[in-house]
């Protein structure tokens, strides 16, 4: 009687606890598998997504670059054909070359200045917050602005031609010019009146002085000849269209 009573007691706790233990085991395995499959990814999910986007964009960029070189080759052919066929077109041709230089479609050379700029020497000693001592997009905007105001015809940043539609912006830790990532040290080249460009940058209270105040290593050199590459991607014109002249 007593033994049966105990056995009854035993089975009354063993069965439910065994059941729950089974469930716990199953859930633990489920959790384990879920964590193993997604845990490693989710921590870097953002970086992962961004990397994929980057790769996609870059392949697009490559495709567009190919397209550009094709178009340029065609343009050359047309130009040759036109010069050969009619003398009248010489003038137009000259205009075309001028426009191409202005639009950044061809590699150019000429006198100008080269400004080099690196992250501040304070960046290494500032402890946690390095942000104020790194070169940002907003550090380069006034440089480009000053150069243009001083009559720079062609500007490039780390080999990326700066044209009318060029965006200079920080995307996370990288700085992008024409959607191409560039990094410090920066080399800003400008073709134009070298003396004018140099003095525009070195104005009292101007960009160079401001960089020096924050201990950014900055140097401006005037050169007799600088070469600047053509723009890597020609902007597509999809929305804007010319308005016919009114009579």
């Amino acid at each position: 009687m007593d033994v049966r009573h105990i056995r009854l007691k035993m089975s009354s706790w063993v069965a439910p606890i065994t059941m729950v233990c089974f469930v716990i085991g199953a859930l633990l395995a489920l959790q384990f598998t879920t964590q193993r499959k997604t845990g490693a990814v989710s921590r870097y999910a953002r970086a992962d997504v961004l990397t994929q986007e980057l790769v996609a964009r870059q392949s697009l960029l490559d495709k567009q670059r190919e397209e550009i070189s094709d178009l340029r080759a065609k343009l050359d052919e047309y130009r040759k054909a036109s010069t050969q066929s009619e003398e009248v077109l010489t003038l137009l041709n000259k205009q075309l070359i001028h426009d191409q230089v202005a639009l950044g479609l061809v590699k150019v050379r000429g006198p100008g200045v080269v400004m080099t700029l690196d992250d501040s020497t304070l960046a290494g000693t500032s402890g946690e917050n390095k942000e104020p001592f790194l070169v940002h997009d907003y550090d380069l905007w006034p440089v480009v602005n000053e150069l243009r105001a001083a009559g720079a015809e062609v500007i490039s940043i780390n080999g990326q031609r700066v044209i009318g539609t060029t965006a200079i912006r920080c995307v996370g830790p990288v700085l992008k010019v024409n959607d191409v990532p560039v990094a410090a040290p920066f080399e800003v080249k400008a073709i134009g009146d070298a003396a004018a460009l140099s003095s525009a940058l070195n104005l009292p209270g101007g960009v160079v002085e401001q960089f020096q105040a924050s201990k950014f290593p900055v140097k401006v050199e005037t050169r007799k000849e600088i070469t600047i590459e053509a723009v890597s991607v020609t902007p597509k014109v999809r929305y804007a269209e010319p308005v016919p002249p009114e009579k």
């Binding site: 009354s12 706790w13 859930l27 489920l30 879920t34 997604t38």
Partner: protein, 128 residues
């Protein structure tokens, strides 16, 4: 008899593990809450068993209701943008430690005291 639950734990783990089932990451928090609620029930059940007042209906309903309450609270918290899942985590965690501590004291008392004193009114005085 104590091996049976452990065995069941292992079997359950192996079955689901070999099946390789995985949930979307969003449900991971809820599953951990159910695991926590079940562990709490096991700890509570083990204590009740040692104290001699284990009730299988209380145990099973406890597992189910605590799991539902914990998951429900977490779900509401998610909808409200509040970390309400922390409430069951803390409450159940505290209870698990309380029960484990009590089991330890009960077993210690039983091991050191004479067999005759192991059951009875002196159990009431055992706290955590």
């Amino acid at each position: 008899m104590i091996l049976l639950p452990l065995f069941a734990l292992l079997i359950g783990f192996l079955i689901v593990y070999t099946l390789g089932v995985a949930l979307p990451v969003g449900y991971a928090d809820y599953v951990s809450l159910i695991i926590l609620a079940s562990l709490d029930a096991i700890a509570g059940g083990a204590r009740a068993r040692i104290e001699g007042n284990f009730d299988d209906v209380v145990f099973v309903t406890g597992v189910i209701f605590n799991s539902l309450a914990a998951v429900g609270l977490a779900y509401i918290g998610d909808r409200m943008g509040m970390s309400l899942y922390l409430a069951p985590v803390v409450a159940l965690g505290v209870r698990i430690f309380y029960n484990v501590g009590r089991i330890r004291r009960l077993l210690l008392r039983r091991a050191t005291a004479s067999p005759a004193a192991s059951e009875g009114s002196d159990l009431e005085r055992l706290g955590c």
